[in-house]
C-alpha cells in the first residue's frame, strides 16, 4: 500500500520540476545504412545513458556473429535486424540532457519499410536526417525530407555522418550541406543545423573534438548533435486556435449522457454554446465530468485533454461529428483535395472503394481522380492513373456523405486523414480545399420559425392543363461547350410544339438574382444553389425549365437534383476542352490562360464530369440541329403525359 512519508522539501521541488520537464520527441531518418541506429547507440553511450551491462551484452552479440562492435544493436533488437545489419521496424528510447527529456525514435531507411518510417516520423516534434558523407544525398534522403515536410515535421537538423570515411573533409561536407539544404528549402523546410559527425567514432555527437589532439574537425564551429537537439523548439500548444473536439463516443453508463472526446485545439468552458458538424445542432455545455467523484469537476478544458461533457439540450450527437464554437466551425464538404503518401501493397486506384478516417470520423470514399504524382527526387510532376506503393501524389477524394474537416494549414489535427484498404491503413494525407467550396451555408436553413404552406392547386392539376409534366433539363458542361445555344434552340422548338418552357441562363441570372456573387468556389456553389431552387419552383409550377450553367461541382448538381426531385434531368454537354478552347466565343479561355481571369473552369478550376448523366450530347460530332432533334425525342418520352 502507498506509504505516506513526508518528503524532504528539496526533493519535493525537484520532483515537481522533473514532472514539468519538457519532453521532445525526435525521429532519426535518412537513407538505408547511413548510420541512424549507430548514431543513436553512440549518443546513448556518450551521454552516459546506457543501462548497466548493455555494452557487455552488445559486445557478446557481435562476438557471437564474428563481427566488430556494432552500436546499432542497441536499437536493432530483432534477430533479423542484427543478422542483416538493417533496421526493419521503428523503435523508441528515452534519454535526457541538462535542458530537457527526449524520446528518440529510430526509423528504418530501407524503402521496403517506409510504412515503419512513417509510423515513427509521424509521432515526432522534430527530426534529425542522417546522410552518409561518402554516399551523399540518396533517394531516401530526399523522400524522407519530403515526407517530413508533408507530415508537418518542419524542425529538421541534418547530420552528415561517417566523416571518418572521407578524412573529415570540409569540402565534402560543404558540398553535401549545400545540396541538401537546397532540397529541403524547395519542400518548405529550413534545416536548423547541418552537423558533420562520425557516429562510429563519436565525433560531434555529444562531444566536440576540436580542442584535443584528435582535432578531426577543427574547421567546424557549429553545434554537436546534442546541442542541435537542445536548440529545437517545443511545439506550440494548440489551445489558442478555434475549438475542435471530434466526438469519440457517447456514454450512457448511468443517468448521465456523456459526450467523450479529445480537444484537438482550442478551449471550452461550462456554459459555452457549441455546435456539432455536420448536422449543425447546437447546445450549451452543462458540465465537464471526471472520475474519481471525490474530486471537483473542472469548469474549463483545453487542447490535448480527453474530456467527457454533458449538454444542456438533448440534441443528437454521434461519433465522427466535430464540436466547435458556433461562430468558428469546420468546413463541411463531401469532396476535397489531398496530398497523400501511399503505403499499400495494391496501388491506390480510382476504381476501388475505400474508407477514410479523419480524427474519429469514418466515411466511405472513392478516389475521384489522381491529379498528379510527385517525384520526390527532383520534385517533378507527372500524370498517372493510380498511385503506386511508396509514391506521393495529389488526389481528389469524394465521400459518400457530407463530413466536417479543416484544411491542414488551418488545423493539422482535423486536416489530415488515413485511407483504409480492406483491413489495413494503407495511406495518409493532408487536406486542401483549393478549388472546392465550403458547403456548410448551402445545406443550412438559417432562419427558424418557417412553416410550409400547402396550396389548393396541386402539381398534377397543373400538369393536366399543360398536357406534360414539369421538370428541369439541367445542361452542364465547360464554358463554350454549347449549353446556351442548344438550350435556346430547344426552347424555341418546344414552345412551338406547345410546351410551357423557360430558360434559366448563367449570364442572365448573374445580372439579377445572383448579382451579389462572384466566381470563388463558395460563390459558384451559392449561384448554383439558388438556380436549383428557382428551377425547382418553376418545375413545381408545371414548366419545363432549361437551365444552362457550367455547374462544375458534382455535389452542387446533386443538390439541385435533390431539390427538384423526380423531374430532374442532367444533360451533359460533353464537348472536349480543346474544342471549347478553340471556339472560345467570348475570348475567355485566352484571358484565363494569360492569368487575367482566375478560377476559370477547365483551366484553373476543376470541372467534375457527371458520373451518370441522364443524357449526354457530343457536340463536337453533331450540329446544333441534330442535338435539338435528339433532345426533342428525349423530352417527348420523359415529359409527355
Amino acid at each position: 500500500m502507498t506509504k505516506d512519508m513526508p518528503m524532504p522539501k528539496d526533493a519535493k521541488i525537484q520532483a515537481e520540476a522533473d514532472r514539468n520537464r519538457e519532453l521532445l520527441r525526435t525521429v532519426i531518418v535518412g537513407h538505408v545504412d547511413h548510420g541512424k541506429s549507430t548514431l543513436v547507440g553512440r549518443l546513448f553511450h556518450d551521454t552516459g545513458s546506457l543501462p548497466d551491462g548493455k555494452m557487455e551484452a552488445i559486445t557478446e552479440m557481435c562476438r557471437k556473429r564474428g563481427m566488430p562492435f556494432e552500436w546499432a544493436f542497441l536499437m536493432d533488437a530483432m534477430q533479423a535486424e542484427r543478422d542483416q545489419g538493417i533496421t526493419i521496424d521503428t523503435s523508441q528510447i528515452w534519454f535526457h540532457t541538462e535542458k530537457r527529456d527526449y524520446t528518440i525514435i529510430d526509423a528504418p531507411g530501407h524503402t521496403e519499410f517506409l510504412k515503419n518510417m512513417v509510423t515513427g516520423a509521424a509521432q515526432a516534434d522534430a527530426a534529425l536526417l542522417v546522410i552518409d558523407a561518402g554516399e551523399g544525398v540518396q533517394e531516401q534522403s530526399r523522400r524522407h525530407g519530403y515526407l517530413l515536410s508533408l507530415m508537418g515535421v518542419r524542425q529538421v537538423a541534418v547530420a552528415v555522418n561517417k566523416m571518418d570515411r572521407v578524412d573529415y573533409s570540409q569540402a565534402r561536407f560543404d558540398e553535401i550541406e549545400a545540396e541538401y539544404r537546397q532540397y529541403l528549402n524547395s519542400v518548405g523546410v529550413d534545416a536548423t543545423f547541418v552537423v558533420p559527425v562520425s557516429a562510429r567514432e563519436g565525433d560531434m555527437i555529444a562531444m566536440r573534438t576540436d580542442g584535443d589532439e584528435k582535432a578531426n574537425m577543427g574547421w567546424y564551429k557549429g553545434p554537436t548533435v546534442v546541442e542541435a537537439f537542445d536548440s529545437f523548439k517545443m511545439p506550440e500548444p494548440l489551445s489558442h486556435q478555434a475549438l475542435r473536439m471530434p466526438v469519440q463516443d457517447v456514454y450512457k453508463f448511468d443517468d448521465r449522457r456523456i459526450i467523450a472526446g479529445r480537444i484537438e485545439s482550442g478551449k471550452l468552458r461550462v456554459g459555452d454554446r457549441v455546435m456539432f458538424s455536420p448536422l449543425n445542432k447546437s447546445s450549451r455545455i452543462k458540465s465537464i465530468e471526471t472520475w474519481p467523484d471525490s474530486r471537483e469537476n473542472p469548469t474549463a478544458a483545453s487542447a490535448g485533454e480527453s474530456v467527457g461533457i454533458t449538454l444542456e439540450e438533448q440534441i443528437f450527437v454521434e461519433r465522427g461529428q466535430i464540436m466547435s464554437q458556433v461562430d468558428n466551425p469546420p468546413v463541411e464538404t463531401d469532396v476535397f483535395r489531398a496530398r497523400i503518401f501511399w503505403l499499400g501493397r495494391e496501388p491506390l486506384s480510382v476504381k476501388k472503394a475505400y474508407k477514410i478516417k479523419i480524427g474519429t470520423l469514418q466515411a466511405n470514399a472513392k478516389i475521384e481522380s489522381v491529379e498528379r504524382i510527385v517525384d520526390t527526387g527532383d520534385l517533378s510532376n507527372r500524370e498517372a492513373e493510380q498511385v503506386e506503393r511508396n509514391q506521393v501524389g495529389e488526389v481528389i477524394i469524394r465521400c459518400k456523405r457530407m463530413i466536417a474537416l479543416d484544411e491542414f494549414t488551418e488545423n493539422p489535427n482535423t486536416g489530415r486523414f488515413v485511407i483504409v484498404d480492406g483491413y489495413d491503413i494503407a495511406g495518409g494525407g493532408i487536406i486542401s480545399m483549393e478549388g472546392y467550396p465550403d458547403q456548410r451555408s448551402l445545406s443550412t436553413v438559417k432562419s427558424t420559425n418557417i412553416y410550409k404552406v400547402t396550396t389548393n392547386v396541386d402539381r398534377a392539376a397543373r400538369e393536366r392543363r399543360n398536357h406534360h409534366k414539369g421538370g428541369v433539363l439541367w445542361f452542364t458542361g465547360l464554358s463554350g461547350a454549347g449549353k446556351s445555344t442548344i438550350a435556346v434552340a430547344l426552347e424555341k422548338a418546344l414552345f412551338e410544339r406547345g410546351y410551357s418552357t423557360y430558360v434559366l441562363d448563367g449570364d442572365n441570372v448573374r445580372y439579377g438574382l445572383n448579382a451579389n456573387l462572384g466566381f470563388s468556389p463558395e460563390d459558384r456553389a451559392e449561384n448554383i444553389r439558388r438556380v436549383g431552387e428557382v428551377a425547382s419552383l418553376f418545375s413545381d409550377a408545371g414548366v419545363i425549365v432549361l437551365s444552362s450553367f457550367i455547374s462544375p461541382y458534382r455535389s452542387d448538381r446533386q443538390r439541385a437534383r435533390d431539390s427538384v426531385g423526380e423531374g430532374f434531368h442532367e444533360i451533359y454537354v460533353a464537348t472536349p476542352l480543346e474544342v471549347c478552347e478553340e471556339r472560345d466565343p467570348k475570348g475567355l479561355y485566352k484571358k484565363a490562360r494569360s492569368g487575367e481571369i482566375k478560377d476559370f473552369t477547365g483551366v484553373s478550376a476543376p470541372y467534375e464530369e457527371p458520373a451518370e448523366a441522364d443524357f449526354t450530347l457530343r457536340t463536337a460530332e453533331r450540329s446544333v440541329e441534330e442535338c435539338v432533334e435528339e433532345l426533342l425525342g428525349y423530352v417527348g418520352h420523359k415529359f409527355d403525359l
Binding site: M1, N20, A80, R262
Partner: protein, 265 residues
Amino acid sequence: MDRLDRLEAQSVYIFREAFNRIDKMALLWSLGKDSNVMVWLAKKAFLGHIPFPVMHVDTGKKFPEMYEFRDRYAEEWGLDFIREECPPIEDIDGEGLGPAARSAARKTAGLRMATQKHGFNGLVAGIRRDEQSMRAKERVFSPRGLEGNWDFRDQPPEFWDQYKTDYPEGTHIRIHPLLHWTELDIWEYTKREEIPLISLYFSKNGKRYRSLGDQDITNPVDSDASTVEEIIQELRTTKVSERSGRAMDHETEDAFERLREGGYL
C-alpha cells in the same frame, strides 16, 4: 497540462478508441504496478465504470500478497472480474527453451485459451516501450494472428492516432494504452493519484521487487527504497534495467523475441 496529464489524456483516448471500435474486449490485469495504473486509467476513461471484463490469467504461482491484493481490489473497484487458469507445465512444449522461458510459454498458452474461450477480439495489456527492446517496437493497436502470434517483421503502419481497428475473424488486437509511458512515469502517476500497490515493491531487508512475475522466476533487486517517493528517487539515478530480475529475458539473446512472437505479452 503537465507531463502526467498528457500521458493520461493519451491513454484515455486509446481506451475510448478501443471500446468504440473493438467488439469484445477484456483488460489483462496482472496485479502489478502497470496494470493497476491501467485499471485506474480505464476508470477515468469511462467515468468510473469499466464497461468490459478485467481478466487475470493465473499461473497459480504468484506471491500470496498478489492474490490478497486481487481479491480486495476486484471488489473495491467494482470490476467485472474473470479468473482463468494456465494449463499444467507438462503440457507445454519446452524445446529449446530454458525453464523460465518455458514458464512464460505456459502463460501464453493460458492466455490463448482464455481468449478463445471468451471469444475476445481485443486484449488490453500494460506493456511499455521502455521495458524491453522488442516491446519498444510495438504498436498501440497490435494485431495478432489466429494462434495469438505476433508478426513483428511486418507490422501495420500506425500514425496520427489512427489505429488498426479492422481485423479478420478469429484474430484479435492487443491494445497497449501504456506503451508511451516510462517506469518513472508509472511511479509518478501512482503517487499523484494515490493508486494502491502490492507491498512487494517496497524494500524489505535491503531488497525489493521492481517487476513482479511468477515467484520462481522473478528476483528482487538490491534497494532501500521503502516508499513511493524513495522509489522515484532511486529510479532517477539507477542504471539497472527494470527487467533485470526477470530470468526469462536472459536465458538466450532471442528468448524474449521468440516468446513475444508466440503471443507472450
